[in-house]
Amino acid sequence: MPTRAFTSGVQTVERALVVDPGQRVPGRAAGFPLRREGPAKLTGAAKYTDDLVFPGAWHGITIRSTEAHAKLVAIELDPDVDWSKVVVATAADIPGDNVVASIKDDQPVLVPVGGVIRHHAEPVALLAAPDKETLRRLKGRIRLVTEPLPPVFDPEQSDHVFAKYEVTTGDLALGFAGADLIVEGTYRVGHQEQLYIENNAMIAVPGDDGGIVIHGSLQCPYYVHKALKRALRLTHVQARVIAEETGGGFGGKEEYPSMIALHASLLALKAKRPVRMIYERHEDISATTKRHPAIVRHRSGVTKDGVLVAQDVEVIMDGGAYCTLSPVVLSRGLLHAGGPYRCPNVRLRACATRTNTPPNGAFRGFGAPQTEFAAEMQLNRIAERLEMSPAELRRRNVYRLNDTTPTGQVLRESVAAEEVLEQALGASHFERIRERTARESAERGGSGTIPPGPLRSGDRRVANGIGLALGWHGAGFTGSGEVYIGSIASVELTADGRIRVLTANTEMGQGTKTVFPQMVAAELGVPSDWVEYAPQDTAEVPDSGPTVASRTVMVVGGLVIRAARRLKAAVEERNPGVPFHEAFRDDAKANGATRIDQKFEAYPGVVFDDATYVGDAYPAYGWAAAVASVEVDLDTAEVTVRDVIAVDDVGKVIHPVLCEGQVEGGTLQAVGYATLEEMKVRDGRYLNDRLATYLIPTAMDAPHIRTILVEAPFSGAPHGAKGVGELPMDVAAPAVIAAIHDATGVWIHDLPATPERILAAMHGDRGAPAA
């Protein structure tokens, strides 16, 4: 009988790239470059952090709290274990400040003995060993001695406020006094997991100079760099961060990579060898940041003609146990909370508080999807109360050129709200289909609602519905964020005649590596594959800011274009009469390298006061509309999102295929948010912290998505682009919920609209179950 053993070693096979790098996208996008990293990803040749081999590297793991709130009394190592064969690190091993540098310095790298554990799965100790089996065996032999403290799980009960804002305009009381109808609503959204395909992964390699080199999966090399310097007390040069191929981020690799890089570094410094910290999915979901849960309360006043005259909105976000980026997430949530509608009397209030749950953080949309869901729910419910088409209600209130927002920002240009609305209505035949679904529900009997009994549906098995939502998304950072960080991006002609783009902006599937060279090539008049994209290595590239906030193409792309223009001018000035593409190689030979560093300068005329929240909250806004069509199974309340028409104004489309990809991905992520994705929390712990239980849409669940791109350029950026990554995430969820309402007659106020909630709502409207 043959006997064999498991082999756990992974073989990496190098495969030849099959695509000629000069090849162009065929079909409608002819003339646009193919994705640079595409072939390697498709053939499996791309190397993600876990694929990188460092001889002699050890594996590291994190020992985490199992309580939501407790005092850490001691960390006990089992005396029966020979600990000299492995490395254990605790807070006592941190050479610098025990903080993960962020907005507030409240989050420790590791909870110190005597300190306080503030959430479940909080890092307390680290363990490294030559092999994973030893880790598996020993991790249970480190015991945390704790004394429980009373936890707080309800953000409304918390007395610790991370941030609080208020924006008011006009006279609220007067506004409500003039209203014919006042509608109130409370809307709730829960955690959402980013669920990038590649789990978090970091490898720390100690250097001869006492420094550390980090190779990792991350969005923001300089965030990690800053965190290393602070906690490990390293100089600018001793800390070096290299972003490797990154399999998705969605905001989830904005904050937490700093933590993991520090953990890997502490172990590497102590073990004096490279240490790999590669998260398993279970650990990744249970410990890392999620989208902030929020409670949003609306009170709106409208006239009988459907004109908004007063809006009073209160937003409460659950920040989790540490501040992370909550203040900025909250700020964006607040600034978008009214929706893209003109209203003379507005009060927007928001606060983010601390609870004993894992910290929440950045996620595509950054606070806006939460508050815009509520705003659109509110508008759709107002339309219903007024017996007015939701399209017509929007037409009467939507922002137009020269309207003023609640912060006093005059929308001087690039306002495409009406256009995206009308295009979505036209492409979806919204009004015609709404008439049909209304007829169908009337035929089913009753006022558009369904069930003849709790235990059975009627003769029709499915109901169809259509729903509309409109949204906006402030382009780039909020307020004076860009001025504050002052990004630098560079374009270089090297001494050996190569053209390179240098930025710290990472590729995580969205196309940075493709569009930056494309934009530079277009300026210089050369084919885009002549332009190289330098690795995102802090030893090589300047700090062009984080890869977040849909700012990469808009803000950093703008810098890159300006740098390219200056490079072209410099070369052509030295070579009069010769165009750049003919001159640059000889120019490099004759004059050596030319590097242009372009620093961000404030967009002209854009002024915001961070203290009073008055002024231009964003330099421009992207506008989006979505129309969703759903089918609801009347027996089971299962929802099929059949199609979504997504119309997005992105200012300027740089690469149509990648741009549509962003819209499709964002729309699908929003469909998951609307219907499926629900992080269940008990005693501060995520219950469904595995892929088997945290469910996102599969290809089978994905609707047909039709993307229509609109271009209302922003004059402050040389190319006019306003960003696209987050915009589609803001609108699809409320459109889906509106469609579910159209099909079933019930409003689901809390996301996600699971069949459990829909069925309960259908019966809630009908009283107690009786067969």
Binding site: M1, T3, F6, S8, D131, L455, R456, R690, A771
Partner: protein
């Protein structure tokens, strides 16, 4: 030293029986349950494993004396492609198509689904509804266990540690109809919130006979709803019978809230899908 279980790959049943008799050994068929438990650290790594993939005696789909017999190693893909299944028990094909997605269907087996005995195992209500029998064997001999006696408690079966599942025998009584409905969380790769198989024999004049209402994900094991079956026994699928059956089923079930769904939803939706299946059968 990495912990690697010793894995035996026998070609013949007697060799497999020897290994099982020699001490604790975990069989592995498609591995789609076993490996998830190991990599997810949900269970200790077994010390010894028995790879069933080379034992031909566990494969094959055959008609034998009025029964359809499926080897324990039959994969869902094999079921989906089987002309015999399609002809004699198409509900197996229908159910197999709802399991996981293509990769899982290629590897996952009927025997694995049965031995794993998850309350959410999608094939299990069909076994209960069709009065299937599970043939098991070991060094001590072979025996046939009726499906209704096989699932004794939460993830506990009548299978002894030294036994293998060999075959599943589905009787094919004339005039029998079987229906299946799975309610999952999404359209693929979804564990059931409720799964139901309904079977009856219809000879025209006497009303429905041998009615079976079997469900998964509503109790600690796959179950039959005996009270509901009684209501439907001798009945016809009329609106009145459907209403009554739905009402009885709701009272009969005692599901729980868990990470996948709620007790209320499971109870109500069980009744609703039964009602729908009866409505479809009655053609009203």
């Amino acid at each position: 030293m990495p912990a690697e279980p010793q894995i035996d790959v026998p070609r013949h049943l007697f060799e497999a029986y020897e290994r099982l008799a020699a001490g604790p050994t975990r069989p592995i068929a498609g591995g789609t349950d076993v490996m998830v438990a190991i990599t997810g650290e949900l269970a200790p790594i077994p010390e010894r494993m028995l790879d069933l993939s080379r034992i031909d005696a566990l494969r094959g789909i055959q008609l034998e004396a009025g029964s359809l017999v499926l080897g324990a190693r039959t994969t869902y893909t094999e079921i989906r492609r089987s002309a015999l299944c399609r002809e004699h028990l198409p509900v197996l094909v229908e159910a197999a198509a709802t399991i996981g997605a293509a990769q899982i269907q290629n590897r996952g087996t009927l025997g694995g689904n049965i031995a794993n005995a998850s309350p959410a195992g999608d094939m299990l209500p069909i076994l209960l509804a069709t009065d299937a029998a599970i043939l098991v064997g070991g060094q001590r001999g072979e025996r046939e266990i009726p499906a209704k006696d096989f699932f004794i408690a939460y993830r506990k079966t009548a299978l002894a540690p030294d036994e293998l599942i060999l075959h599943v025998r589905f009787p094919l009584p004339p005039g029998r109809e079987v229906r299946f409905r799975k309610v999952g969380t999404r359209r693929a790769q979804a564990i059931s919130k409720v799964v139901m198989a309904l079977a009856w024999e219809d000879f025209g004049s006497t009303g429905w006979q041998n009615v079976r209402v079997a469900l998964g994900s509503v109790a600690a094991t796959p179950i039959r709803a005996r009270k509901t079956e009684l209501i439907l026994e001798g009945a016809r699928p009329t609106p009145e019978a459907a209403d009554l059956a739905a009402e009885i089923l709701v009272r009969e079930l005692n599901p729980i809230d868990d990470v996948r769904s709620t007790a209320d939803y499971r109870r109500m939706v069980s009744a609703r899908i039964l009602h729908r299946l009866l409505r479809e059968a009655g053609g009203w």
